[in-house]
């Protein structure tokens, strides 16, 4: 079964704008007929610049936003059905951008327990889940700490643990590293990768960092609410011109390969890593 399946997913909202002639209402099409299928256990990245609609898509997976048209199934549950909302949120957890604004409690373990407590899990089971979740993200030594003194990366790992304690099948991460420093970004990305590979949790990463998207199995590019590109990272990033057109970056090595090809050098266009680049140059000799 698919983890997430969107068919003709459309989201429209009305924005009031102030003009010289008073207020006017304008329809904004945040998502336009999106068809996306995410297989269980995969790691997908959704790329797009700010305001492209990628965050709106993420919120649909958690039933925080309902489609105006079309349908999205999460773990087989249709998000249009009001009574399924808790099942949906339990199967697809969500981690948000700002590490400070998603932690509820003043003690790490209390915060991790928040989700399972809401689900009505028995106390002994919660204790077990909290300890396991903290161990999984490598934060066991901070169990009784206050989140205030943790680093951004640690707070995001806590947020991931908070979702893990709800035993989800899928985690949606909405720009989880945008406010972190390089060390924090690395911590969070390693945690995401490990959970995907070892625990088999489906990961949906919303980002505008190309190096993060490069680690995914599948990449979707959203631009102005439209799904404009879909493929493996190699397929996506090798389209250097198209990526730039959508306001996105490609890895430096990919860009260099692109420039070299323009000058007539026979080098593969889907180079993403330093090793691939070095290898390709050595083969030229």
């Amino acid at each position: 079964m698919d983890m997430v399946k969107a068919e003709g997913l459309t989201y429209e909202y009305i924005k009031t704008i102030e003009t010289d002639h008073g207020t006017e209402e304008e329809k904004v099409l945040a998502l336009n007929h999106l068809d996306i299928t995410v297989e269980k256990g995969s790691f997908i990245a959704v790329l797009g610049h700010n305001g492209s609609g990628k965050s709106t898509f993420a919120k649909h997976i958690n039933a925080l936003v309902k489609p105006t048209k079309g349908t999205i199934w999460v773990n087989g549950f249709d998000t249009n059905q009001e009574e399924l909302v808790w099942d949906i949120r339990q199967s697809a957890g969500m981690v948000f951008q700002n590490p400070d604004n998603q932690l509820v409690a003043t003690v790490v373990e209390e915060d991790i327990a928040f989700g399972p407590e809401n689900l009505g899990v028995p106390p002994k089971e919660i204790r077990k889940r909290v300890d396991e979740a903290l161990a999984t993200v490598g934060m066991s030594e901070y169990t009784t700490h206050s989140p205030n003194r943790l680093s951004g990366g640690q707070k995001q790992r806590m947020a991931i643990a908070g979702v893990l304690a709800m035993k989800p099948d899928c985690i949606v991460l909405d720009e989880p590293t945008a406010m972190l420093d390089p060390v924090g970004r690395k911590e969070v990305m390693q945690t995401i990768l490990r959970l995907n590979k070892e625990e088999g949790i489906t990961m949906i990463l919303i980002t505008h960092y190309m190096d993060e998207a490069a680690m995914a199995d599948d990449v979707y590019v959203i631009d102005d609410g439209n799904l404009v590109m879909h493929g493996t990272p190699k397929e996506i990033f090798s389209e250097v011109e198209q990526m730039k057109h959508y306001g996105l970056d490609v890895p430096q090595v990919t860009e260099v390969a692109y420039e070299l090809r323009k000058q007539g050098i026979d080098i593969p266009k889907d180079i993403l890593t330093v090793e691939e680049m070095v290898g390709a140059i050595c083969r030229l000799k």
Partner: protein, 274 residues
């Protein structure tokens, strides 16, 4: 700077008082505060001071810590004392000049009010210094539960307290940052009269409120995403359970209240200055 403000600060230590159930501590503190208004003699205060001294000793929190709290409200204490000295009418006039009259009754009343306030603060700081905020809110939620039927939102009050405690340090940091940023733009918070100073707070308050609302919005969504839907079918990881010490503490409370009442009854026969 702003971070030095301590609200409900917890002092970690291993003591009998720390281990007591938060509910028991809340109840004891409640009756203790009530008792302060019941005591009206110096003999009675001596007894309360003695009992409080024992509690401070048992809590293993340095007395210095508790006295810190008094320093910050010294103005209120002095103000109360002043009002009592000057406003109390009495028979034994000690000093009179113009409209100012100081009576013996006034002086005694002022001293008693000061003692009362100091005892109140030290007593309640034992509660906050030995109980983590989480335990405290859990305790309050539990104790308010019987009142739910008449519409007291026990769970919501507790949740609000938890969130407030969680965000106070964050917002203090933010205030610090905003102040520095506006100072870097030439804002001056130190000079000028009261009105000018108040006006200068706008560049701090507006961004602070906007930030607080943005955070509230984000947090609401994050809580919803984690299946929060009030206290319906909600369980707790740490359930509160009474230990032997909690029962002992309750017995102590009853004995204490007995002595207070006995003293009050006896007070009628004592001269007023005792």
């Amino acid at each position: 700077m702003l971070r030095d403000i301590t609200i409900g600060q917890y002092y970690p230590a291993e003591s009998i008082i720390h281990r007591l159930d938060a509910r028991v501590k809340l109840v004891i503190t409640f009756f203790y505060i009530l008792s302060l208004f019941f005591v009206n003699t110096f003999v009675g205060y001596l007894f309360v001071i003695f009992v409080l001294g024992l509690a401070v000793k048992a809590s293993k929190v340095p007395l210095k810590f508790m006295l810190k709290g008094i320093k910050s409200i010294m103005i209120i204490i002095l103000f109360t004392a002043g009002i009592n000295i000057f406003m109390t009418q009495g028979d034994t006039v000690l000093f009179q000049k113009g409209i100012i009259t100081i009576t013996q009754e006034g002086v005694f009343l002022a001293i008693k009010m000061c003692i009362r306030l100091i005892l109140l603060i030290i007593g309640s700081s034992i509660l906050t210094l030995t109980t983590t905020p989480i335990q405290l809110t859990d305790g309050i939620e539990y104790l308010l539960r019987p009142w739910k039927k008449i519409g007291v939102p026990a769970h919501e009050i507790a949740m609000m307290m938890t969130i407030a405690l969680r965000f106070i340090p964050t917002l203090l940091d933010e205030t610090d940052k905003i102040m520095k940023a506006q100072q870097a733009r030439g804002a001056d918070f130190d000079t000028g009269n009261v009105i000018q100073k108040a006006k200068r707070l706008i560049p701090i308050l507006v961004p602070l409120f906007i930030s607080a609302f943005r955070r509230a919005d984000d947090l609401a969504m994050a809580m919803e995403a984690r299946c929060y839907h009030g206290d319906e079918n909600r369980t707790r990881m740490n359930e509160m359970k009474y230990q032997k010490a909690d029962y002992v503490a309750q017995v102590c409370l009853i004995c204490y209240l007995g002595v207070i009442i006995a003293l009050r009854v006896a007070a009628a026969k004592l001269p007023f200055f005792l």
